[in-house]
Amino acid sequence: MTSAVKAIDTTRQAVPFDTGNIPGPKMAKAVMPSVAGKMLAKAKRPLLIVGSEVHDRDVLERAVAIGQTGVQIAAVGNAYTSLGDKGLDVHYENMHALASYLCDPGWPGFDGKGGYDLVAFFGITYYYASQAISAIKNFSGIKVISMDRYYHPNADMSFGNLKNDVFIAALDEIIAELRKDKQ
């Protein structure tokens, strides 16, 4: 992982990655990684939801780096196989069930401390994540940031559709923001 952060623009190509995935008039605002990073850093109870596309080395390293800043991680799908042994605050959960729990104000969370005020998604099969985000968007008050390489219209904020190198650089910038906040 590089420590230098490239100047990138993650707001381009902010159209649903799956061409037909147009939910309605409210679609995600395209954001720069610094904004996503600050939101994640400032959230009182953030949760990072990471899925089965996390196993690629470059992506995994960044997921671990975010987790090491203290953000709790929900490993959905088979993501736990790559994240479980990294000493992180990581919990396996089925994503469909997790979406349901997040919409329930009575859910105690993974640690018994209550629900979350912001969830961030990345590394999840596009259409699967989109459906889970749709539930959170419409039936909860939780803010959703998509930090994936695809534009997710159901999120409150999302990157546009990114090339892999830009996506990795964006994650690096988020990590830098989180580390800055820790200092």
């Binding site: 799956d18 409210k26 089965s52 196989t81 259409y127 749709s134 419409n138």
Partner: protein
């Protein structure tokens, strides 16, 4: 005196005509043997049961659209669960869509059953007896829902009348200005799902009874399956859809005329299953995912369509390659001319000359006569021309070189496949990425429309994959029909006590998240763990598509009896009814529960005692949703693949809400807080690694005895450790005493429990404090108060 149906004139009273319609025999009709409170349930008769399910398994909505555009008030923006102009909110609208989806599925299967019933009554008469094999409980769903025990196929007439009437009522409820509460939309959706099971049961029982399909036969022969099985030098007839009526005539004609060595005949989708059930000489190409691919290959010389899972563009695609389409069902007619009353020769002349691209022929005998003759004429003509949509070698190289890597095809692909990467590899002569895509591709053809430089992407994938297509040759055990009563007697106890870890039903379509191989892998793992695997439809086909090192498919390695570690194929889509009905049989035969008109009690028994789970890993259709919803009302959990979230509604339990897991002990009506078993009623999994431990978990039931619980817990823990690399977080929730722990790991697990704060008597190696409840072998779990002693 024997009274028969018909019209009579009494001598001396010539002006009086007596019409005798349906004859009701004692002990034969609805009402005479009803054992439960809800024969022929109306749309709210089972609402209390539905509410019990919905209170525990809360509907979870994942809308694909935040809009409603059903009426002229709209479009209405319902984002954030706002109300639209009519007052419906997004939750209600999502639930309404669940209802409409269930209705569509139920109507599809029921209309299939109606078509068959009318046809078979005309051919065999209403008094043709039902014969499904060695069973007294011949129509479990009909008995449980209708309260009657049908004896002849004519007895199903009032059954379909009932289903059709109920579906009309339910459809009316979906109109703007009708039902508005999400909860009641869901109750109605569950009702539609139940009706779907009934419609399917009628369809399959009558075809088994009249058409000589296997009757609970555990040793049916194997049929060939795959895109590479046909001798393409012969004329090829491909039947597409679900309804055996027309293909049966073609098979009969070919049999009569000795044409099986001259013409290749095979099916696509569930028609294929039923063709092999009708005549074991028929072959199976595969699922709907193979439909466009196979047509584009140019191999078929005649396409015969009936109903369901037929591509809307089949005529357009076939016409390009001069493949005549014979439509045989009034529900799918494609604007084709009705040639039902024309001569076979005249129709053939028009099709061979290309004057017409196809014909609608509703006279099925004529279809049987025409299709083989047409194939014999079309075959040589088409083969001489080498008609195919696939590019030749030079064209293939030119096309892959055109790719600009814009990724538009990936964005339009339901699976998001990396097509551009495969194009790049193919430029340098590496076809392996395309061969992988061939299996993962669901054959929808959306990529063709998306390509800005007009590459026919699907054709390119298929051209590049010719090597693997030629090798695509598997075996599927021909659909057996019902599970017979003797098998239930043998296995029912193991299922209820949990010593057989569970029944897993792999059903539904081929819209898999990562190719067909996943289904094979999961089924193999669970068979090795002694689960009973029951299958039907496209899933049953794909299970047979792969071979082990010895060249054997799973069907060749595992027998087909309803006992642990066996692999059964019940048959086509409508054979799904038998899978659901098996749980009714267990409740009736093993536990002596009354069935007739007794849905709630039976479903309550199934939910609390029978570790059966449905898996619809590639479900795409409204039919699959209806089947799942019907199973849910019967107390059977279902897991779908990730595409299942696009059905927009699931039923997910919340294990942290302890109050949701209170059930009653029927012995005295006392409330018992139990472990979340089964935890969910309808949920998706993201990957096969996530699917397997989830299946094991969903097989837990409150009634498990300690041996059964230990077996189920063993598989849950092992599968989680093997595929998710972790002990399940909630494994201890399912431990009621040390006897529930797997013997091989008992001491290690007790230490882990101690670490969780449980009290252990190490001298006796006993748990003294910690479990939610104790094991009670006499526990009679129920969710229905009236079933408790003294209950009303």
């Amino acid at each position: 005196m024997i009274i028969k149906k018909g019209s009579f004139v009494i001598e001396g009273l010539e002006n009086v005509q007596i019409n005798i319609g349906r004859i009701v025999e004692h002990g034969h009709e609805a009402g005479s043997e009803v054992e439960g409170p809800t024969p022929r349930p109306e749309i709210i008769s089972l609402r209390d049961w539905d509410y019990r399910l919905l209170d525990r398994y809360n509907p979870v909505y994942t809308p694909t659209s935040d809009m409603c555009d059903y009426c002229t008030y709209g479009k209405c923006d319902l984002t954030g669960n706002k109300e639209g102009a009519c007052g419906i909110d997004l939750e209600g609208q999502s639930a309404r869509q669940a209802l409409i989806t269930s209705i569509m599925g139920a109507a599809c299967h029921t209309a299939h059953g109606r078509h068959l019933l009318n046809y078979l009554i005309k051919k065999y008469g209403e008094d043709h007896p039902i014969d499904v094999g060695p069973s007294n409980l011949k129509a479990p769903l009909t008995e449980t829902i209708m309260g009657i025990q049908p004896v002849t196929i004519g007895d199903f007439l009032p059954v379909l009348d009932y289903v059709e009437e109920q579906l009309t009522q339910l459809t009316a409820a979906a109109n703007t200005g009708q039902e508005g509460a999400a909860r009641d939309f869901e109750s109605k959706a569950l009702h539609a799902g139940m009706l779907d099971l009934l419609g399917m049961e009628v369809a399959d029982i009558i075809q088994i009874s009249c058409m000589g399909l296997p009757k609970s036969d555990e040793k049916t022969p194997m049929a060939e399956i795959g895109m590479g099985i046909l001798d393409t030098q012969k004329p090829v007839v491909i039947c597409v859809g679900h309804n055996i009526a027309a293909p049966a005539y073609i098979l009969d004609y070919m049999d009569r005329e000795g044409l099986f060595d001259k013409i290749e005949i095979a099916g696509l989708c569930c028609t294929a299953h039923d063709m092999t059930r009708y005549n074991k000489t028929a072959k199976v190409i595969g699922t709907m995912s193979k439909e466009l691919k196979y047509i584009r290959s140019g191999i078929p010389d005649v396409l015969v369509t009936d109903e369901q899972c037929v591509r809307a563009d089949i005529l357009k695609e076939a016409k390009r390659l001069h493949i005549p389409v014979i439509a045989t069902n009034e529900k799918i007619t494609y604007g084709l001319p009705d040639r039902s009353n024309d001569s076979v020769d005249a129709i053939i002349d028009d099709l061979v000359s290309g004057k017409h691209a196809g014909a609608l022929i509703l006279d099925l005998e004529k279809v049987g006569d025409l299709v083989p003759k047409l194939a014999m004429k079309m075959g040589p003509i088409r083969k001489a021309k080498g008609l195919t949509a696939l590019p030749d070698e030079d064209e293939f190289k030119r096309l892959v070189a055109k790719c600009t890597k814009c990724l538009q095809c990936t964005r339009d692909c339901p699976q998001g496949l990396p097509i551009a990467d495969a194009m790049v590899a193919a430029v340098s002569g590496d076809l392996a990425p395309f061969e992988i895509l061939h299996d993962k591709c669901v054959g929808c053809g959306r990529c063709d429309y998306s390509c800005p430089v007009d590459i026919p992407v699907l054709n390119v994938i298929e051209k590049a994959s010719q090597r693997v297509i030629r090798e695509e040759r598997g075996k599927v055990r021909i659909g057996r029909g019902q599970i017979g009563d003797p098998e239930i007697r043998e296995e029912g106890r193991n299922l209820v006590l949990g010593t057989t870890p569970g029944v897993l039903a792999f059903v539904g379509c081929g819209n898999y998240p990562d190719g067909t191989r996943d289904v094979y892998d999961v089924v193999e793992e669970m068979l090795q763990r002694s689960y009973i695997i029951v299958s039907s439809g496209c899933a049953a086909m794909d299970i047979g598509m792969y071979k082990d090192k010895e060249g054997k498919t799973l069907y060749e390695r595992y027998p087909g009896r309803f006992i642990k570690g066996n692999l059964l194929n019940t048959g086509s889509c409508v054979s799904n009814a038998h899978i659901a009905a098996t749980t009714i049989k267990v409740a009736s035969i093993f536990a002596g529960r009354k069935t007739k008109g007794n849905w709630e009690e039976i479903a309550d028994y199934v939910l609390n005692r029978i570790g059966a789970v449905g898996v619809a890993w590639g479900a795409y259709s409204q039919k699959a949703f209806a089947i799942a919803t019907g199973c849910n009302r019967l107390g059977i959990p279902v897991v779908a693949g990730p595409h299942g979230t696009k059905y927009r509604r699931a039923f997910i339990g919340k294990p942290y809400r302890k109050e949701n897991w209170n059930i009653l002990d029927a012995r005295d009506g006392s409330v018992v807080n139990v472990e979340p078993a089964p935890e969910h009623l309808l949920i998706t999994a993201g990957t096969k690694e996530e699917l397997m431990p989830l299946l094991a978990k969903l097989c837990f039931r409150p009634s498990d005895n300690s041996l059964g619980r230990a077996i189920k817990l063993t598989h849950y823990i092992e599968l989680s450790e093997k595929y998710l690399k972790k002990m399940p977080d909630d494994w201890h929730t399912y431990v009621r005493s040390e006897a529930d722990l797997p013997v091989a790991k008992r001491e290690q697990l007790i230490k882990l429990l101690e670490g969780k704060g449980w009290k252990i008597d190490w001298d006796k190696k006993k748990i003294t404090e910690g479990p939610l409840r104790k094991v009670d072998v006499s526990f009679q779990p129920t969710n229905v108060p009236r079933l408790c002693k003294g209950g009303k």
